[in-house]
Structures are given as structure tokens and as C-alpha cells.
Amino acid sequence: MFLINCPFCGDRDQSEFSSGGEAHIVRPKQPTELSDDEWAEYLFMRKNIKGIQFERWNHVHGCRKWFNVVRDTSNDKILSVYKMGEKPPVNYK
């Protein structure tokens, strides 16, 4: 079970959190301008990579805040956490 360092509450058990999938997928500002394919790209397509992945997590049974996590999916190590709206740490690009 992960130990997740919520940027607002500190280290907490994974059981307090829910995962929100890949991070930094921005909802298009003008969805109506998009073709079916473009909209499908936003709606359905996810990278699901083995290795360093940027994810969203919600401290759902805690402060209810959403935040970002950098996780290596090959060994489940969480490398960094940062708040919504902040840029991902450059060293993991």
C-alpha cells in the first residue's frame, strides 16, 4: 500500500486517496470546435506507460484536495507530489 505525501496533509495511507488517472490533460476550452477524433483524443486516449507517469490523486477521505503525483509505474515509487496548477518538476520530463 502506497504512502502518499498529500501536499496539504502530509504522509497518509493510500486507502485515504482515490486515483484520478493521467495528469495534465486539459479539458478543451472550446469543445464544440473539435472534430469527433479530436474530442475522442481528449476523452479516451491515455498513455498508460511503464515508467515515469504523471497522475492525479484526490485525498478523498481527507482534505478532498486534488493534486499531482509523479510515479514510476514499474516499481510504484512516488517521486514527487505537487499542487494543481503547478508545473511538473522538470527533472522528470
Partner: protein, 1000 residues
């Protein structure tokens, strides 16, 4: 009765005699014994029958790796426990144990005939034989296999014992209290790290604690004496917690470990009462030191499984720790030095023994010592066969050829009553691999060792492949200093003298003149797999160790690769001509030793199994005979049967009363979200499909919420309480998810919006009163409130006081009747409800439950999200295009409503169904077709809601049907098991299409 207890030790309290029953017979042992040591003291080796061939089997080891001495404890229906290892079970007064896997008893076992037909039961026998004929599986093969196999019996009644869970956090966790674990714990704790040391045994000290060989000394003391001193010292350390009788079950990621602490299993029955039996420790440790030691390997030769054949080191422990000798005429068969320690110990206690060593020669302190004592040693010899049915009585040895591939010369027959075998040592790398660690192979002594790859765990001692005491202590100290980044000097000057092993020779499958098919060389005693089975699997094309394991069942069940894994790998490597290190190992899965379900479940049993949410009116519902329905975690009244009414009758009565006069529903469970902020209206615009900006203060509006994929997600009525303040209601089951979803959009997509969300579901209780007389009841409750349609129209909201307590009253309707929902702070909910009931008496105000609510709304064609929808329905599919704003530029899910798939005209769409026979009630979930003759039958859809309406006096149903919108009036068929039901597609609204009743 024979007595094999030949000397006193400090671990056995001979003043405390303990009586116990084994297979119905009474024996005696002492406090400090395990069941196994007590049985051996009584001369009992035979403890079970093997799984497949039902061969007699004896105690093999003294620990968790025991494959044979597995017992059923107790005989009560609720307290019996199977698969307990006699080698781990501490003896207590009144213990009742019996052998498993034999019928009628361990000495005469009918299944033993399998031993003689064993050529007919090769590896994969079950897979090959019971495949055919197929029809035999269920009725013949499976019951037969279940009857003759199986390990023990489960209890048949609920477990009456108490179990507990505990969460703990430590800087350092040390697993294993042997010499390296004790040193590690001491170093950590003395450096101000909060440390936990756990060990599965009753006392600390591992195998060094009974070590008494003169050639092994630390600071001029016997190693056991030195270690006892260390244990006394660490007990004084304030930030070290020591837990004995505690074993790690699983090592998960992020140094999260589960440990099981045995609290009462060693106590007599009367002392167990009302105490916690076992506790599950949930441990988070910043760093973990694995010091789990190693276990001795058996040797693989013909008939190596007879009772009386044990691991050499176990013979040593039974002797020096428990004071019990396993025989009076013992042979030790070895490929390494450790059996010499056993030999010397036995010799000192006056037990005659000889050594068969497969090495050509060997020289070390220990061997010199044995030679000086005059112990007979056969170098370069192997055991080729053993004899004795219920216990070994003799064996044959032969000389090994130069290359070790065959035997040469004449057979030498030696008599004995016990054989100790030592095939070297296997480091217990289970914890390391469970934590995600990889392994390296060391060719020199053919062991898998932990590869250091993780910063927060480390292996020390013999589980790291360091076998002699000097190596263990020196390396442990160095590694721990580095690992914990400390500079401990405690062991700087420790002077260690120990014998060093210089000679190694290992042969996985020992040679024999008899061909392999005619020998019985066991690799896995518990699963009865032999060397021949492994070779057969290879011959049949299996290559991966994971496949060979499953095909031959080697290392499965409770063994989990402890005793058998290395030999299987070794034989595969030899046969296939590959390097052993390249084969890898099977996966070591948790739990390391079996866990009881009770421990895993802890206190979460019975009424604590799941959280139950009750409304503040709950007690009234109970008192008034309500049947309850689980909706999420909520208990909701389902219906209120009167006298001897069944559900149908109760629902018909409730439904009729609600439309004829008045009904009342506890609507407190609906999700309620308080929305405030200057952008609240804009926020609602974005999350609902319809427009919200123009909703006047004091008005209510129904809203439909979609997922971004355009599918209906939730619905409910939202009320504008003031300019920047709304109260949203959600479905009962969807409340938490809706809040989460709204927070997601607010925090991540639209952080610029000034909106605050608060869940107030539990803060308000809600009584919903509906029916033509509801206004009169409201008038009695709120005499000062103007209830006229002009002042308080449908879809509006007022605030008033009930005996000085604020109430929010919404005139909204889910039944199609004139209807009011009264919200009050939850602590007054019960009083509100009782006042409503009291005021409604003269109008036959009838409490109704969820079933009636569902029926009433179905008469009006109102959907229930999650019943009439399933995550694939768009608003248009539900014929609810009216609620989707065409003017709004965007809302959640809008773009998806005109994807090529969502605009298809042949999607499943919501329709009404009327049965040709108005008395016929359809089954929810039933399939809908238009033609029953064509094959395969084309499925058009299914029934989502179905009721008998007492107000219309006929059966009504809602369904989703392909292209349903265009099918009104069309005949369809619901094929059931024994008949076809004819239906006609209708409108979804069955009652009061003009909505006259809302203002009745």
C-alpha cells in the same frame, strides 16, 4: 512408554507437566515443548500420510518449513483449526491434536494402496486422467478427489474468538531475532531510532541460542552465552519494542508489512477465554532489516521420506533445546559441515552416530573435532536406499564415482533408527522478494541471494548468505552502520572464533543404480512430487519453472517453495543443461506462513462488518414494522407491512393511499450539497445540461448531470436559496461520487470560479409529504405559511419555523402528486417526522417506502438513475431532449452528445411497455425480442422497471429498446422460461399526462 527426553535444558520446565491428546491417545510433555518435540520425546515419528501416495510420513523439521507434521487442532465445530504445524505449536494443557490426510487412521491408511499403484499416478495425473469423459467430472471425479485429498477440515460454525488489528509506525523494523537481528536491533535502538524487533518463536536467539560447540566462541564465551547477554542488554533499551510469537505474513510496497501476533494459542483452554487470540500488526517502517535466517535443505535420494528421517539441524535443536533425541542409533548424511555440529552434540550426550559425507574429503575445525572424538565418517559415500515402513530401521550406502554421476563398489548396509540429512542451507529470501527485491545466484554454494537494490530494506545474516558466525557478525555490523548511516562501535572489539567450511560438493539428485522410474526420490514431501515427476515434466516440454511447479505441484500449498524449490530448480538445470542462476525462481507469495481469516478480518465481523447509515427517523421506522432496503450504506424503509401483509399488498396499499389522500416518505438519504460563491450559478450552468442563470431566488429546478462522455450520471432538484447560495440534491447512492466529481472540475479545470461545496447530507433530515391532502397537513404544521399556489407554487421554496426550529420547505414532486419536502436540522428529524404523522392522522397519512416511491414515479415515467440508466444512456436515449439546453455554449458532456455514436438512431431508448394481459407483471432485466423463431434471436433490449399499478389497475413497465422512440404501438415479445409474454410499446408516462395532480 519409551522416553527420548535424555537431559534437562533451560527451555523445558520439567516441573510443569502438560498432558495432551494426539489421535485420541493421551501423552505427556512439559511446558516449553512444541507438539512435535513432545511427540518425539514419546518416540512418535509417524504423524501423517503423504498427499498423493499416502506413504507414512514423520516429523522432518523443527520450524515453519515442516511439510509433514500438519495437524488438525481441536474437534469443536467452531474452534477446530486445520493445517497447524506441530513444529510451531506450543504445547498446552488439554491440547487435542490429530493427524490429517489419512483414513481410517495414521497407522492403517486405506489410501496407502496408492503407493503401490504409483507408477500409474505420474505428474499431471489429474490433468491427464480426469479430463475424460467430460460428464464424469462433476459427479464422479470431483467428489472422489475431494474425499481422498484435502488438508484438514474447516470449522463449520462461526469463529467465537476475538481478533484485533493494530497500526504502528517505526523508524526501523527488524524481522527475525537471531544473532544478526539482535545486533541490528541493538544498533538501531541505541542510535535513537524507534525500533521494532519481531520473531516468530517464543524466545529470541534463533539457532545460536542453543549453540554449545566449544570450537565456536565469542569473546571467550560459548556463542549461546554471549547471545543471552546481548538479549538481556537489548531488553533494557527504551526505544526498542520486542514482539515474540509474531511472524511477518506479507511485505508490501512502501515498507508496509503485515504481522501476526499469537497471543493465546499457547495457553490452556480456560486461560484463552475472553482474550484476544491473534493480532494483526499493520506496520509502516522507514527502514526494514530482514534477518530471517536460512533453512536446511534435504537431500534427494531413494526413499528419503520415511518417518525417522529429519533435517540434521532439527535433530540438533530437538536435542540441545528440547532435551529430546530423535533416535538412539543415528546416521547423519551430509554435503557440508553443519551436520558435524549435530554429530558432536549427539556424541556428547552419549548418542551413537556416524556420518556419511558425500564430499571426497573435508577439513575444518569441526571435522577435526569429530574425528578426534572417534566419530565414524564415510567420505565420498551416498545413501542409496532406506528401509522400514513406519519408521526407518536401516539404510544402504555406496561409494561415489569420481565425477559424482554414479555409484561404485559394494553396498554397505547400516542399521539405524534415525537419519539426519543436510543438503546445505537455503537463505530465506521470501521477505526480500515480496518487497520487490531481485535475486542473484551464488554458484559456489548454489544459493539465491538478495540483490541490494532498494534503499529502505536490507538483508543481514544467513538470509543474506553469510553462514559462519564471524561472517554474520562482521558483515551485519558493517551493513547496518551503512544502511542506517550511523557509526556504532559496540562490536569493534568482539573476538569471534569459529570453524570455517572449506569444502563444498553438491549433487541435487543423488546417483543410484536403480533407474529413476523405480525409485522414490522425493523433492516436495507435502505434495508428493519426486525427481521423476520433474524430469517427466521436462520431457513433456515444460521449461519455465513456473509451469513445472504447477504441473508437478512442487512447492505449492503451505510449502510455498521453502523446502522443495531449490532441488526442483537444480534438477531442471542439470537435466536441461543450463545454469541454475538463469532459471530464476518461482514467485514467493504472501503469506509466508498461513494466516487465519479471523486475523485478517479483526473486529469487522457481525454488525461491524460494514458501516451502516441510519436516518434520524430510523427508530420510528423500526417501531412501525418497516422492512429495510440497503441503498449504498443507508438503511431505507422498503415498505411497511401491516398485519400479515406481504410486500405486494403493502406496496399496493401505500401507493393507493398516496394518490387518494396522503403519503409520507423519509427522503433524508438523498445527497445534499451546499453550493455557495459568487460563481455558483455559472458553476451549475457548466455541470447540468439545462440553464441555471435565470433561476429566481426561492425557486427549484430539476437538473440532469452527464459524464464527459455524454452519458447520464446523476439527477436531482437544486434550489436557489439566495443570490449566491444553492442547495443541490443528488441520488442517494451517487452523493459521494457527485461531490468528488464536482470538486474535481472546480479544483482542476475551473479554479477561477468562486464556488465552495459542502456535503450536508447528514446535516438535514427530510420528510416528503405527497397526495391531494398534503396541503392540509402542511397547513396544520405551518399555520402561518401561505400555501396558496400564487405564493408557494410548484418548484419553489419557503422557510418557516416549526416550534421555533427553522425548516426549509420545497414544493417539489417525484410522485406527480402535490408534494412538499420539509428539511430540518437532523437532530430534530425524528420529532419532525412524528409531528407530520400526528398532523396527518385525520387524512390517513400513510408512510411509504422505497418500493412505493419507485412505483409512483414509474406511473409518471420519471427515471431512476442507475435503474433505468446504466452508464450508456444519453438524455436523448431517455427521451429527455427537453432538458438539454441548445443555447449553452458548453456543459459537461455536451460535445459527446453529437459524436457519431451518440447520434445513432438505433441506440437503445427508453419506452413504456404494456402487457397484453394487464395482470401480467414483467420481470425487471427480462430480454425483449420481436421474433422468437429466428436463431440466434435478436435481442432488442431489456425491462428496467416493472410494477403493478393499483392506481391504473394494470401492469406497467419501463424498458430500453433499440430504436424504441419510433416503435410506439408496436408488438414485442418477452420470452420467459416457460412462456412468451406479449407486450405493446407505449408512452413512458402512464398517469396524469397533463400534470393536473401537481396542483390538485
Amino acid at each position: 512408554m519409551p522416553n527420548y527426553r535424555i537431559h534437562k535444558t533451560e527451555y523445558i520446565d520439567e516441573t510443569k507437566r502438560v498432558s495432551f491428546k494426539y489421535d485420541g491417545k493421551t501423552y505427556f510433555g512439559y511446558e516449553g515443548d512444541t507438539l512435535a518435540s513432545a511427540l518425539l520425546a514419546n518416540g512418535i515419528h509417524l504423524v501423517g500420510r503423504s498427499f498423493k501416495y499416502h506413504r507414512p510420513r514423520g516429523i522432518v523439521s523443527c520450524g515453519a518449513e515442516e511439510p509433514n507434521a500438519i495437524c488438525q487442532i481441536g474437534s469443536k465445530k467452531d474452534l477446530t483449526e486445520p493445517n497447524v504445524r506441530a513444529t510451531e505449536l506450543e504445547l498446552y494443557e488439554g491440547l487435542e491434536a490429530s493427524s490429517q490426510n489419512c483414513w481410517p487412521n495414521v497407522k492403517f491408511d486405506i489410501g496407502g494402496i496408492n503407493n503401490f499403484i504409483s507408477p500409474l499416478i505420474p505428474a499431471g495425473f489429474y490433468y491427464k486422467t480426469f479430463m475424460w469423459p467430460k460428464s464424469f467430472w462433476k459427479k464422479v471425479y470431483e467428489p472422489l478427489i475431494r474425499l481422498s485429498a484435502g488438508l484438514g477440515k474447516s470449522p463449520t460454525e462461526p469463529d467465537p474468538d476475538i481478533y484485533d488489528h493494530k497500526h504502528v509506525h517505526y523508524d526501523v523494523l527488524v524481522i527475525g531475532g537471531g544473532v544478526s537481528g539482535i545486533i541490528s536491533a541493538k544498533m538501531a535502538a541505541k542510535n535513537n531510532l524507534k525500533t521494532l524487533l519481531i520473531d516468530d518463536k517464543k524466545i529470541l536467539g534463533g539457532s545460536t541460542i542453543y549453540q554449545n560447540n566449544e570450537s565456536i566462541k565469542i569473546d571467550d564465551k560459548l556463542s549461546s552465552e554471549w547471545l543471552k547477554n546481548e538479549i538481556q542488554e537489548i531488553k533494557k533499551l527504551s526505544n526498542l519494542t520486542i514482539k515474540t510469537r509474531t511472524s511477518i505474513a506479507a511485505y508490501h510496497g512502501y515498507n508496509f508489512l503485515l504481522a501476526k501476533e499469537n497471543l493465546t494459542d499457547h495457553l490452556p483452554e480456560e486461560k484463552k477465554k475472553n482474550k484476544i487470540r491473534q493480532r494483526l500488526w499493520k506496520i509502516r517502517a522507514k527502514k526494514v532489516v530482514i534477518a530471517t535466517g536460512s533453512i536446511e535443505r534435504p537431500l534427494v535420494f531413494n526413499n528419503n521420506d520415511r518417518p525417522g528421517i529429519l533435517l540434521s539441524n532439527s535433530i540438533n535443536k530437538y536435542l540441545d533445546y528440547y532435551g529430546v533425541t530423535c533416535g538412539e542409533n543415528i546416521i547423519l548424511f551430509t554435503n557440508n559441515d553443519s551436520a558435524y555440529e549435530t554429530s558432536i552434540s549427539l556424541h556428547k550426550k552419549g548418542i551413537k552416530n556416524i556420518i556419511v559425507d558425500l564430499r571426497k574429503s573435508a577439513s575444518s575445525e569441526l571435522i577435526k573435532q569429530a574425528e578426534n572424538l572417534g566419530i565414524k565418517i564415510y567420505f565420498n559415500h551416498v545413501v542409496t536406499n532406506t528401509f522400514g515402513y513406519r519408521k526407518i530401521n536401516s539404510l544402504e550406502i555406496m561409494k561415489l564415482s569420481e565425477d559424482g554421476n554414479t555409484t561404485v563398489g559394494n553396498k554397505i548396509r547400516l542399521s539405524c533408527d534415525c537419519l539426519g540429512m543436510s543438503g546445505g542451507w537455503t537463505p530465506m529470501v521470501h521477505m526480500h522478494t515480496q518487497s520487490g527485491g531481485k535475486l542473484d545466484f551464488r554458484d559456489e554454494d548454489q544459493v539465491f541471494l538478495p540483490k541490494e537494490n532498494s534503499e529502505d530494506q536490507i538483508s543481514v545474516g544467513s538470509c543474506n548468505g553469510d553462514f559462519d558466525l564471524e561472517n554474520i557478525i562482521d558483515k551485519t555490523v558493517n551493513k547496518i552502520n551503512k544502511f542506517l548511516d550511523i557509526d556504532n562501535q559496540d562490536y569493534q572489539d568482539t573476538n569471534i572464533i569459529c570453524s570455517k567450511e572449506n569444502d563444498k560438493r553438491n549433487i541435487w539428485l543423488l546417483p543410484n543404480k536403480i533407474p529413476l522410474g523405480k525409485t522414490k526420490c522425493f523433492i516436495d514431501f507435502q505434495n508428493d512430487s519426486t525427481a521423476k515427476d520433474i524430469k517427466l515434466a521436462l520431457k513433456e516440454g515444460f521449461r519455465s519453472i513456473e509451469h513445472v511447479k504447477r504441473y508437478t505441484t512442487t512447492g505449492m500449498a503451505t510449502d510455498q517453495g521453502k523446502l522443495s524449490n531449490m532441488h526442483a530448480l537444480g534438477i531442471i538445470a542439470d537435466t536441461a543443461g543450463v545454469k541454475m542462476g538463469t532459471l530464476g525462481t518461482t514467485t514467493f507469495r504472501p503469506p509466508f506462513t498461513p494466516l487465519t481469516f479471523g486475523t485478517l478480518v479483526g473486529r469487522n465481523v457481525g454488525k461491524f462488518f460494514e458501516v451502516v447509515r441510519k436516518t434520524s427517523m430510523h427508530e420510528w421506522h423500526v417501531e412501525n414494522n418497516a422492512e429495510f432496503e440497503n441503498v449504498g450504506q443507508w438503511k431505507r424503509p422498503w415498505y411497511y407491512p401491516k398485519n400479515s401483509e406481504n410486500m405486494h399488498d403493502a406496496v399496493q396499499r401505500e401507493s393507493k393511499a398516496a394518490r387518494d389522500s396522503a403519503g409520507i416518505l423519509d427522503a433524508s438519504t438523498l445527497g445534499k450539497i451546499d453550493i455557495q460563491g459568487t460563481d455558483a450559478s455559472e458553476f451549475l450552468n457548466r455541470v447540468y445540461t439545462n440553464a441555471w442563470s435565470k433561476l429566481a431566488i426561492g425557486k427549484c429546478r430539476y437538473g440532469l448531470m452527464l459524464n464527459e462522455d455524454g452519458m447520464v450520471y446523476d439527477d436531482g432538484v437544486t434550489t436557489r436559496i439566495s443570490e449566491n447560495h444553492y442547495l443541490m440534491t443528488t441520488t442517494t447512492g451517487g452523493a459521494a461520487n457527485v461531490l468528488s466529481k464536482l470538486e474535481d472540475y472546480l479544483q482542476t479545470e475551473w479554479p477561477e470560479l468562486d464556488v465552495y461545496l459542502t456535503s450536508v447530507t447528514d446535516h438535514y433530515s427530510t420528510a416528503s409529504i405527497c397526495g391531494p391532502n398534503s396541503k392540509k397537513i402542511l397547513n396544520k404544521l405551518f399555520p402561518n405559511l401561505d400555501l396558496s399556489d400564487e405564493n408557494f407554487p410548484h418548484m419553489s421554496f419557503k422557510e418557516d419555523k416549526l416550534e421555533n426550529i427553522n425548516c426549509r420547505i420545497m414544493r417539489i414532486s417525484f410522485t406527480g402528486e402535490l408534494s412538499y419536502e420539509i428539511n430540518i436540522e437532523s437532530k430534530y428529524g425524528h420529532s419532525l417526522w412524528k409531528m407530520c404523522i400526528e398532523s396527518g392522522k385525520e387524512f390517513n397519512l400513510t408512510p411509504y417506502g422505497t418500493e412505493t416511491m419507485h412505483l409512483l414515479r414509474a406511473e409518471k415515467g420519471f427515471i431512476i438513475v442507475g435503474q433505468d440508466t446504466d452508464g450508456t444512456m444519453t438524455p436523448s436515449d431517455l427521451q429527455m431532449d427537453w432538458i438539454v439546453s441548445k443555447k449553452k455554449y458548453d456543459f459537461i458532456g455536451k460535445r459527446s452528445l453529437y459524436r457519431s455514436d451518440t447520434i445513432r438512431e438505433d441506440r437503445k431508448q427508453l419506452v413504456g411497455l404494456l402487457t397484453d394481459d394487464p395482470k401480467e407483471i414483467l420481470e425487471e432485466g427480462a430480454q425483449i425480442v420481436s421474433d422468437v423463431k429466428s436463431k440466434p434471436i435478436d435481442m432488442l433490449g431489456h425491462v428496467t422497471s416493472s410494477y403493478f399499478s393499483p392506481n391504473l389497475n394494470k401492469s406497467i413497465a419501463l424498458a430500453v429498446v433499440r430504436s424504441g422512440k419510433t416503435m410506439k404501438g408496436q408488438k414485442l415479445i418477452i420470452p420467459m422460461e416457460n412462456k412468451n409474454i406479449n407486450v405493446t410499446v407505449s408512452d413512458t408516462i402512464f398517469l396524469d399526462k397533463e400534470n393536473k395532480r401537481l396542483n390538485a
